[in-house]
Symmetry: C2
Subunit: 248 residues, 2 copies
């Protein structure tokens, strides 16, 4: 039932929508571990929500940094560009994950963040986040953990790029996606890829043809079923075995 005053309705709706305290991602995202009173203080801070259409930039390398972004829904990639035109996808981000941490260092973004599907993000003004985390120990500590986790993730990618074969890389990639979908309550075994073969290749340090061949091979061997961007994982342990195989 709409209330008598439609304006109030709008306001309360928008408040509800942008509140961390009300967000079902709060256990994955920045508010992790906060109590109710602390949550409400964080709500004050996370005031801006924005839609980003598929293909649009959330931010570009070189732009001034003043906020980090939490993904409320949707899917992003980040990439870095070299002067000579080469680029590399440095990550794929999904709901509950943070974007923009790279910008703190120089106060300018150092990569591009591009939506791979229509998405919604919450902007978190960074200086206000620092203020609040000076007051809320839990928030401070969790933020540090999130940054550290990003460093650990990057080490994993370095390992992957530095020592793994093409098929190992792709297996690791699929298992990682599967695990992150699971954490968000989706099927661990069946999902749609939001990115092209070329973007996967860029992330994994491979050419798109190599990615495509590896997909076909996994299918032949019964590890997965692929149809375009639709993936079904048929044999998780098979994929895991692929990863740890070579001991060169």
């Amino acid at each position: 039932m709409p209330p008598t005053n439609p304006l109030n309705q709008d306001i309360s709706l928008s408040v509800i929508k942008t509140a961390c305290s009300n967000c079902n991602l709060r256990e994955l995202c920045l508010p992790y571990g906060l109590n109710l009173e602390e949550l409400e203080r964080l709500d004050d801070l996370v005031s801006t929500r924005r839609r980003v259409k598929r293909g649009d930039h959330l931010y570009r390398a070189g732009e001034a940094f003043d906020a980090i972004y939490a993904i409320r829904s949707g899917f992003f990639k980040t990439d870095v560009l070299l002067e000579d035109g080469r680029d590399q996808v440095t990550g794929f981000q999904m709901a509950g994950e943070l974007l923009g941490l790279d910008g703190i260092s120089t106060e300018h973004h150092t990569c591009n963040a591009i939506a791979l599907e229509d998405s919604e993000i919450c902007a978190i003004p960074f200086s206000r986040l620092e203020s609040l985390s000076r007051e809320i120990h839990t928030l401070q500590h969790h933020f540090h953990k999130v940054m550290s986790r990003e460093i650990v993730r990057d080490h994993g990618v370095m390992m992957l790029l530095g020592t793994m074969r093409a098929e190992e890389r792709l297996a690791a990639f699929l298992l990682n996606l599967s695990q992150r979908f699971t954490a968000r309550g989706f099927s661990h075994a069946e999902f749609y890829l939001r990115m092209t073969r070329e973007e996967i290749g860029s992330y994994l340090g491979l050419k798109l043809e190599t990615v495509s061949r590896a997909f076909s091979r996994f299918q032949e061997e019964g590890h997965i079923a692929v149809q375009q961007k639709h993936i079904r994982i048929l044999n998780v342990s098979g994929l895991k075995a692929l990863m740890n195989h070579r001991a060169t």
Copy 2:
């Protein structure tokens, strides 16, 4: 002149030695930007100094995390291990740089830190660092910058591993070392490598033979002079040109 009481001498010496306020790396390290009073508060915190002999571990993957480490002198590498025995060097660290940031995430170290020469480090208990950075805004902000810088550095390595050829990787590596030595007041053109060809290769995702051949080639082409671990850079712009050459 030694004072009459040799014990006092020892104490004051050790205090002087471990103080950030007295360390000539303070502009590169954690204390960056702090005023005198703040520096003294940081001094209280950085009480433990430790020597790490060449080849020894500062910490190992899996150990409980409770402190980060600032390198006072010396040279380290960090590496990650896969279950199947493969490993990858994730970085080389020199004086003024921090080690252990990866441990914050899980409260356990996720990599090994090994001294490549006899070194000295300052241990900074992490929970106390968090406390202090809740009180000193400048410290908090600078610590965030340092973590972010590590993320940006990792993206650079991902780019290198994902898109560059062997010679480009080595050129980038040499230029990076040169720049970091310069920042520490050493020659930008002449230095000793503290790591083996194999360790360089591991970091760059190459085999030691490939690293060796690339060194030889750089020498033939007059970009550098190599003799074992002694490197002289003869043509900086030549090396830079090597890096941005290919536009595939």
